[in-house]
Amino acid sequence: MRRSFLALLLAWLAAGCAAPLPTRTVASPLPADGLLTERAVLTARGKQFALNGYLSQSAAGGRRLIITEMFGQTLADVLIKPDGTVQVLRSSRVLRPAWIKRFIAADVQCIFGGSPGPVRKLSETHFEIRRLWYKLDVQIVETRPGPQPKELFDTPAKP
C-alpha cells in the first residue's frame, strides 16, 4: 500500500516535471535602454498559462518587469537593481512573492542579464527556460528602444 502510494506520488511529480535544460548563458536581446513586450506561456504541472510581460531596462543595469494576464490585470511587478538585489513590488494569488523572487527574477537575469541558467535561445526573439517544476516559453513581440522613466528603477517610497 505504502509502495503504491510512493509510486503514485512519483508518477504525479514526474507528470508535472520537465527535464531541466543544462545551465548556459545567452546574449541579452535587450537594448541598453528600452522597453520590451513579451508574450510567454508558462507550463507547470501539465497546465499552461499565457502571460504578458513588460520589461524595462536602464543603461545603468536596472530592470523592471511587470507581468499581466490577458485582460491587463497585474500579476507581478519586480525590480532588479543593478547590483542584482530583487524587490517584489506587487504579487498576486497566481504569482506569489517567493516565486517571483526565486524564479521570475532569476529567469529575467537568465534571458536578459547574461546570468547562467537553464535557458535555450530558439531564435533572436524566442527563448525557452526549462526547470524541474516548470517550462517557460518567452517570445519578444515588441521592442521600444529609448530611455525609460527613472522612477521605474527607484525603490518606491512607502505610502
Partner: protein, 230 residues
C-alpha cells in the same frame, strides 16, 4: 508662422468650446428601466463582430501599452476574443467550455488551460456585457448609470477581494444604448485598461468553424466570409 499659430489657437479654443458644451454626466437614480431598455435593444442582436484597441495605462510608463484584435459574439453563448497584434492569441468560450490558442513560431498551439472555470466566467461576463444582459451580472456587481454625451454604466464588484484588484468596470455606450464604444477597467491604484471598440458589424453570418474550440477558422477567413456574405 503667425498664421499657423493663429490657426492652432483657434482650434484649441474651438476644442475647449466644444468640450464646454458637452453635457456633464448625470447619475440616474433608478437604473433598472434603463438596463431593461438596454437588454431589450440588444436582444435583437444575433451576432456581432467588433474590432478593438486595448490600451494598458500604467502610471509608471510614459505611453500606454497597446494591443489590438477582434471580438466575435454569437447568441446564445459563443464568444471569440482574438488578439492580432503585437502577438496572436485566441480565446474561445461558451457555457460549457473555454479554449485558448497561442501562435508560437508561426503555428497555433492549443493550451492545456489552468483555471479554465475562471476564464470561462470572465468570457461569460464579457459576452453578457456586450449583449446587454446586465441583470445576469447583478449578483457580482453593483451597477450604476450616468447619462450625458455618452451613457456610462459603472459596475463595481461586490466581492471585497475582487475589488482590491479591480475597482470598477465602466461600459461607455452611445446615448441611446445602441452600441458599446469603450470598456474601462479601473484598478485601485489608478492604473487602468481601456478597450476601445470600432468597426462594429451586426447580425453577420459567421462561417462554420468560427467558434470551433479544436481548430478555429483563421480570422482572415472569418472576415472574408463576413465581407462577402449576401
Amino acid at each position: 508662422m503667425n498664421k499657423t499659430l493663429g490657426i492652432a489657437v483657434m482650434m484649441a479654443a474651438l476644442a475647449l468650446a466644444l468640450r464646454a458644451e458637452e453635457p456633464p454626466l448625470r447619475p440616474v437614480a433608478d437604473p433598472r428601466p434603463i438596463l431593461q431598455d438596454l437588454q431589450r435593444k440588444m436582444s435583437t442582436l444575433n451576432t456581432v463582430c467588433l474590432e478593438f484597441a486595448q490600451e494598458r495605462d500604467l502610471k509608471l510608463f510614459a505611453q500606454p501599452l497597446r494591443s489590438e484584435g477582434v471580438m466575435l459574439i454569437e447568441r446564445p453563448d459563443q464568444i471569440r476574443w482574438e488578439t492580432t497584434a503585437p502577438f496572436q492569441s485566441i480565446l474561445l468560450g461558451n457555457h460549457e467550455a473555454v479554449a485558448q490558442f497561442e501562435r508560437i513560431d508561426g503555428k497555433w498551439q492549443k493550451l492545456k488551460l489552468g483555471f479554465p472555470q475562471m476564464l470561462r466566467r470572465v468570457m461569460e461576463q464579457m459576452s453578457a456585457m456586450n449583449q446587454g444582459k446586465l441583470d445576469a451580472l447583478t449578483s457580482d456587481y453593483t451597477i450604476t448609470v450616468a447619462t450625458g454625451s455618452l451613457a456610462v454604466l459603472t459596475l463595481t464588484p461586490k466581492d471585497e477581494t475582487i475589488r482590491s484588484m479591480l475597482a470598477s468596470i465602466q461600459v461607455k455606450m452611445l446615448p441611446d444604448y445602441s452600441a458599446t464604444r469603450e470598456v474601462v477597467m479601473n484598478e485601485p491604484g489608478g492604473d487602468f485598461t481601456r478597450i476601445i471598440f470600432k468597426n462594429e458589424r451586426r447580425n453577420v453570418k459567421f462561417p462554420p468553424g468560427t467558434f470551433d474550440q479544436s481548430a478555429p477558422l483563421d480570422i482572415a477567413a472569418v472576415k472574408t466570409a463576413i465581407t462577402h456574405a449576401p
